[in-house]
């Protein structure tokens, strides 16, 4: 027997079928295009931005993200269901395309049929299973959204439309198949077996009788067709649009360096406005991002500000921009989103990192901050303004006299490059390790380690100034650029070959943001530098068993993907790491990023206390950090959480310095 089926069975393949079918298709496509054009016009309200360079990489990334669902798959549960639904639906789409190809082209024009034999068997089975998977996944998602109702999940009319339409398409598909099979295949089990779901439906419908089945079939066929065309037509007008926009956004995604902000041209005297307080100040990608958002709330679930009751949800910010773009393009961005939300961001990047839609949340927030700072002279509080002024005067936000910046290093015999420029590495100390007593202890440990490894370290001493990171993230691009240009000039003047930092904020800024100032000197964060020294046998460690937990700072972790090296280093000194519930790329911020180190945390719960509590829950007595901001926040957090006796925050370098074998120390 021939394994195949008659396409257009019971429907007919003549003009009477094809003309209305393709006529309706054209109409659906026309509505679709119209909707798309309307949206394109809105995207164009934004400023230009080139996101079409590196096309090969962009296409590759898009195909991976979309076809393999790599980002969606990162969150089990809903993510898994979406991925399987996508794959099933994609298979059904290919199946439908094959049918169209054969019935309306190859067979119609050339008499070629390929949906037969073994290929047909596999085709039929695959499509049946895909349809079943799609229904099951969709049902699961439906239960989640409408019965389980996870906290923070926004459900709108769009969601009902999507679930309803997709389910209707899938179910009518099986009913059509069942009705057809009840007439044609029910008594041909060797054929029906290749359409198991359809066979099941056919068995249920068998009692209806052929005339009834034929009426049911043709009715449902046209209904199914209308549903499918409706799906095309409503796509740009509903959340279905994410099929296109989210996929396209993977192509338009920021290609890094991760967390590097765009440098504002401050030299151009014609620029009268800085930052964004209106839609037209943003880039087209910022508007497009809103259309790519599926409200999956993964960003919101991970936002440390949101989690501690502050009025910031990254998802909401993105969608408020979309709402302004499509409904009231003249509205004031900052008034709509709210200052408190804008200032609450710690730029921890948890939102952007997890986003399956390649949305860039942080840049938008910084643009609005730039407007507040550069155009209005506004800050989240007077303490932040004072820190900015202190940095202008003394080159550090702590308000310490600049000339004493290198004092801590004197007893260690470390000289500034102005006195001795012949060094192996320049240690860019940073403000906290220079002036803050707790962090001077870290700097001291780091120097002792370098000395034990026979590495000659120099510092800039009183010539060093803040790298400008907190100021930049707070929106003070002018002060940042002033500091950056001075720092670049000084470091370059000494012909430095390699720089080591103990502050991930300095590291990220020097190694990425400073590129815009022609700075390309190698910069290594101390966690990596020390790990390499230990691994290379240059730093003999006397491993001693100890329990600890490890906090991935946002700027070493999510910003630079350094998760394993610090852990390897901790293990090499005998550390047993009890991981916190949120670790690695999902680590919970300490609260100090985004320039928040300069600001008082006035709203909601304290982020650092929450993080310290997570550390306490591991039962390990030590919380190892790699960042002076984190360390400062944790020292404060253990007091706030009243767990000073249970948890001791320390930098990796401090613990390592205690474990250097004496002959080298």
């Amino acid at each position: 027997m021939e394994f195949t089926r008659e396409i257009y069975w019971n429907v007919g393949h003549g003009f009477a079928t094809l003309a209305p079918m393709y006529g309706l298709l054209l109409l659906a496509v026309a509505i679709f295009v119209l909707g798309l054009v309307k949206r394109l016009k809105v995207y164009r309200l934004g400023q230009p931005l080139d996101r079409t360079d590196q096309r090969r990489e962009r296409i590759k990334h898009m195909l991976e993200t979309v076809l393999l669902q790599t980002k969606v798959f990162r969150v089990p549960g809903a993510g898994t269901a979406h991925a399987f639904f996508f794959w099933s639906f994609f298979v059904l789409f290919i199946g439908t395309t094959l049918i169209v190809l054969q019935a309306d082209f190859s067979d119609l024009l050339f008499g070629i049929k390929f949906l037969k034999g073994t290929f047909y068997k596999l085709f039929s089975l695959t499509l049946d299973l895909a349809g079943l998977t799609a229904i099951l996944m969709l049902a699961g998602l439906l239960v989640r959204r409408y019965l389980v109702r996870p906290q923070g999940l926004v459900t709108k009319g769009d969601d009902a439309l999507m679930h309803g339409l997709l389910l209707a398409i899938l179910i009518t598909g099986f009913l059509i198949e069942g009705a057809r099979m009840a007439v044609t295949e029910l008594y041909v089990p060797q054929l029906a077996a290749w359409s198991p779901v359809g066979w099941g439906v056919a068995t249920l419908l068998a009692g209806v009788g052929e005339p009834g089945l034929r009426t049911l079939h043709i009715g449902l066929w046209w209904f199914h067709l209308l549903l499918a065309l409706a799906f095309i037509a409503v796509l740009p007008y509903s959340k279905f649009r994410h099929i296109l926009t989210t996929s396209a956004n993977a192509f338009f995604a920021d290609r890094g360096p991760i967390g590097k902000l765009g440098t504002v041209n401050l030299e151009d005297e014609n620029t009268e406005k800085f930052g964004a307080n209106e839609l037209a100040d943003l880039r087209w990608k910022d508007i497009f991002d809103a259309d790519a958002c599926t409200l999956c709330k993964r960003c919101q679930d991970r936002c440390p500000a949101y989690a501690t009751g502050k009025p910031l949800s990254p998802m909401q910010v993105v969608n408020q921009i979309g709402e302004i773009a499509f409904t009231k393009p003249d509205a004031n961005l900052i008034e709509t989103i709210g200052r408190e939300a804008i200032w609450a961001c710690t730029t921890c990047r948890a939102c952007q990192d997890i986003c399956p839609a390649s949305i860039e949340h942080v840049g938008k927030i910084v643009e609005m901050r730039r407007n507040l700072v550069l155009m209005e002279g506004e800050f989240p509080g007077e303490e932040v303004m004072a820190a900015m002024e202190q940095t202008e005067v003394n080159g550090n936000p702590l308000g310490m006299g600049y000339a004493s910046r290198g004092d801590w290093a004197e007893p260690l015999g470390v000289k500034p490059l102005s006195e001795d420029p012949e060094v192996d590495v320049l240690y860019f100390v940073g403000c906290y390790a220079s002036f803050d007593k707790r962090n001077i202890a870290v700097a001291t440990s780091f120097i002792k380690l370098c000395q034990a490894a026979g590495i000659k370290v120099g510092i800039l001493g009183k010539e060093e100034k803040c790298c400008g990171e907190p100021m930049r993230k707070m929106g003070n691009e002018y002060l940042y650029q002033t500091l950056a240009m001075e720092t670049v000039e000084i470091i370059k003047g000494y012909g430095v070959k390699k720089i080591v930092t103990t502050c991930p904020h300095c590291f990220n800024t020097l190694t990425k943001d400073y590129r815009d100032f022609d700075f390309d000197i190698e910069v290594v964060p101390h966690a990596l530098f020390l790990e390499e020294l230990v691994a290379g046998g240059k730093l003999p460690v006397k491993a001693e068993d100890f329990a600890c937990t490890y906090h991935d700072s946002c700027y070493l972790g999510r910003h630079n993907g350094l998760y394993d090296a610090p852990r390897k280093l901790i293990r090499s000194m005998g550390g047993r790491i009890a991981e916190m519930a949120k670790n690695r790329d999902q680590a919970f911020c300490c609260s100090a990023g985004g320039g928040r180190i300069l600001a008082e945390e006035k709203l909601g719960e304290r982020i650092n206390v929450k993080r310290v509590q997570m550390a306490v829950e591991t039962g390990a007595g030590q919380l190892l950090a790699n960042c002076p901001f984190c360390l400062t926040m944790f020292e404060d957090g253990v007091k706030g959480a009243n767990v000073e006796e249970q948890l001791r925050p320390r930098d990796i370098a401090e613990v390592l310095a205690e474990r250097i074998t004496s002959e080298n120390a």
Partner: protein, 256 residues
């Protein structure tokens, strides 16, 4: 309305101060410089007044070496219209009357309605210059103002008195007002204003001391001798409180 704001550039008080070779003043090395805090209140109040009355011209004046133009630029960025720099590398050695004479010499034919300045400088702290300028110009001076209101030609200020009490003083232009902490929170200059400030007029004048001979001299400048150390109390809070009370009773008269 014609307004003059007199400012001084002073070292940041967190700087590493050293006494100079002559032992008469601080050494200029390793110091970070900024606008005298009280003068910032003066600049801010003048800018606010201009924002209120719209039609006002703000001249900011500073005496000192070339580096003080940085402070003038800050005042221009905050909203002053023009800058005057009396270039005097020796200003730190001048006594108050000499400084006041230079200012009055510049101001005498300019018909300033209000002259705002700080109540004193953070480094020398003589608190004389503003008052002497008023005297030299023959106009009234109201010192240590913590509140300012202007309404149709009449000026009402609040003065801070000892012990926390306040006095309301009314005056009419021309007048010198010296500003105290609490008057306002100086603004952070916006970037467009910083850019504009670079193009504003900045007049450099040579110092005219009016032939006044020195009438006073700072003969020595030194850090106070260290007397004993601080005392850190440790222990439980109730215990600490008892210890503190005992110490206060024994060594001080606050509980007597």
């Amino acid at each position: 309305m014609n307004i003059l704001i007199c400012i001084k550039q002073v070292p940041d008080m967190e700087s590493k101060f050293k006494i100079n070779g002559e032992g008469t003043w601080y050494d200029r090395a390793d110091l970070a410089w900024r606008m005298n805090e009280y003068d910032e209140y003066a600049v801010e109040q003048a800018v606010r007044l201009k924002e209120q009355v719209k039609d006002a011209d703000l001249t900011v004046l500073c005496i000192g070496p070339d580096q003080v133009t940085e402070s003038i630029k800050k005042a221009l960025a905050m909203g002053c219209d023009r800058g005057v720099h009396i270039t005097d590398p020796d200003s730190s050695q001048r006594e108050p009357i000499t400084i006041a004479t230079m200012i009055a010499g510049f101001a005498k034919d300019k018909n300033f309605d209000i002259i705002f300045t700080g109540m004193q400088s953070q480094d020398r702290g003589s608190a004389q210059v503003g008052v002497m300028v008023a005297e030299l110009l023959g106009i009234p001076a109201v010192t240590t103002i913590v509140d300012f209101a202007y309404d149709n030609g009449s000026i009402q200020v609040k003065r801070e008195l000892e012990g926390g009490s306040k006095a309301l003083v009314t005056a009419t232009a021309p007048v010198v007002l010296t500003c105290q902490l609490g008057l306002n929170t100086p603004r952070y200059p916006t970037l467009p204003n910083i850019m504009k400030a670079k193009k504003k007029e900045l007049l450099a004048l040579s110092p005219d001391t009016g032939g006044i001979d020195a009438r006073q001299e700072t003969t020595a400048c030194y850090f106070p001798e260290k007397k004993g150390g601080g005392l850190v109390l440790e222990g439980e809070i109730p215990e600490l409180a008892d210890k503190l009370i005992q110490l206060l009773k024994e060594k001080t008269s606050v509980l007597a």
